[in-house]
Symmetry: none
Subunit: 255 residues, 2 copies
């Protein structure tokens, strides 16, 4: 994540970087940013003031904090692990204005829902009630929850109704979590009904992105969802040029 070397970094770029850091770690220090962005602390402070005026961060002595830090929900809130946030952040960068997106469930997906910038206008279909609720906090998104029977464990909607309803939609990009990812076996999962829904989701999407923390690479579950060739993107917390990734990069865009 070397934003340096680029001698001219525009103010807006720095702002974007700062926001990203805050989303990732919930806080930033002026001193750190000064080093990372190679500008004086004065400039950083001015940046932080700008962002605070825009209401995007909470400026405090020494740096700034995520706004959600102060929200009433904060108290019981358990923040996602940084690696999940990283995955979520990378995923969001694939979404562009006006897109129609379909998402599965899981904590990484919930984290993604939280991190979507306020300016983005898009349509989100989801099979997860939890993701739907999180997305519904967003000011500009249209959120459509696919109905169906609730799975006890995965907290997503399943069953024939969900599958047939998915046949009626056509989306630009589908984000899917995965329990198993393997070079030969592709994407695998352990629950029959969940697999059916994931398959239907993939059929409805022009492009599919798998989001997963790197721990799940090289693991295989009982049932196959799809092979790697069905995928467009593989998003994990790894660096795209990580050696663990090279074999995969022949089949999918690794991010």
């Amino acid at each position: 994540m070397e934003e340096q070397g680029n001698l001219t970094m525009l103010k807006k770029e720095r702002h974007a970087f700062i926001i990203k850091q805050i989303n990732l770690h919930n806080k930033v220090l002026s001193s750190d940013l000064s080093v990372q962005l190679q500008v004086s602390e004065d400039t950083i402070r001015r940046d932080l003031n700008n962002l605070a005026e825009e209401g995007k961060i909470l400026k405090v002595h020494g740096g700034a904090l995520s706004k959600s830090f102060h929200s009433p929900y904060q108290l019981n809130e358990i923040y996602a692990k940084d690696s999940k946030k990283e995955v979520a952040q990378k995923a969001i960068e694939l979404i562009s204005e006006g897109m129609v997106v379909l998402t599965g469930g899981g904590t990484t997906m919930v984290e993604m829902a939280r991190l979507i910038p306020d300016e983005l206008e898009a349509t989100f279909f989801t099979v997860s009630p939890l993701v739907a609720l999180e997305l519904s906090e967003h000011p500009k998104l249209t959120v459509i929850l696919m109905g169906g029977q609730l799975s006890k464990n995965a907290h997503i909607n399943i069953g024939s109704k969900t599958v047939t309803d998915l046949m009626d939609i056509k989306v630009d990009l589908c984000f899917l979590g995965a329990n198993g990812i393997d070079l030969k076996e592709g994407i695998t999962d352990s629950d029959y009904e969940v697999v059916q829904v994931k398959k239907a989701m993939i059929r409805s999407a022009a492009k599919v992105a798998i989001m997963s923390i790197s721990e799940k690479l090289e693991s295989v579950q009982k049932m196959k969802v799809c092979s790697l060739s069905n995928l467009e993107y593989l998003i994990s917390d790894l660096n795209p040029d990580d050696p663990k990734y090279t074999a995969y990069s022949e089949f999918v865009k690794v991010i």
Copy 2:
């Protein structure tokens, strides 16, 4: 859950940590916090003073206490919750083994979902993702979430998809919240799309029960959902023989 290792902890972070501890244990000791947060007790005391000035905690000799037991506002909140629990409990008593039930959204409905006894085996349809998630914690229930577009405010699914899907189901009993209840005007609500969904829910149900805290009696909203004659039950926190209820008891079973 140690916040250390992070060499610089900002003041606001400490405050957040302290609040979290107080919510967890109802009290904190300055000496403990000094160790946990790796700052001098003086700093802790200053933090506690800050938080006390902001009215968030109650500072006492040796540390601080949760304020929640002393604030009249909190008491009201708890009281309001109690009356909702009462309504929810009465509603549950209408559900019998094997029934197929349909529910709307709202805090009372969520409360009901929590209180359903573990032994009950039944099928629940709901238009509320929140209620669905709560119901899915139950060991024996089958939960089906009706899909649709998420309403920003009411947190229920709305739109034509929801309405047409509701046409396909037939349930024994439908539980509905209400914003307005009035002898002449019947059940009323303020949002067009919400009203459409509620009407569809009523059409799908053999019997309809309105759940509402008594404050909402004698209030009228802009749009009509149905008249009292369409209802089977009216459930509130009032006693069935309360004088406020007598007029209603000619049209519906008051509980």
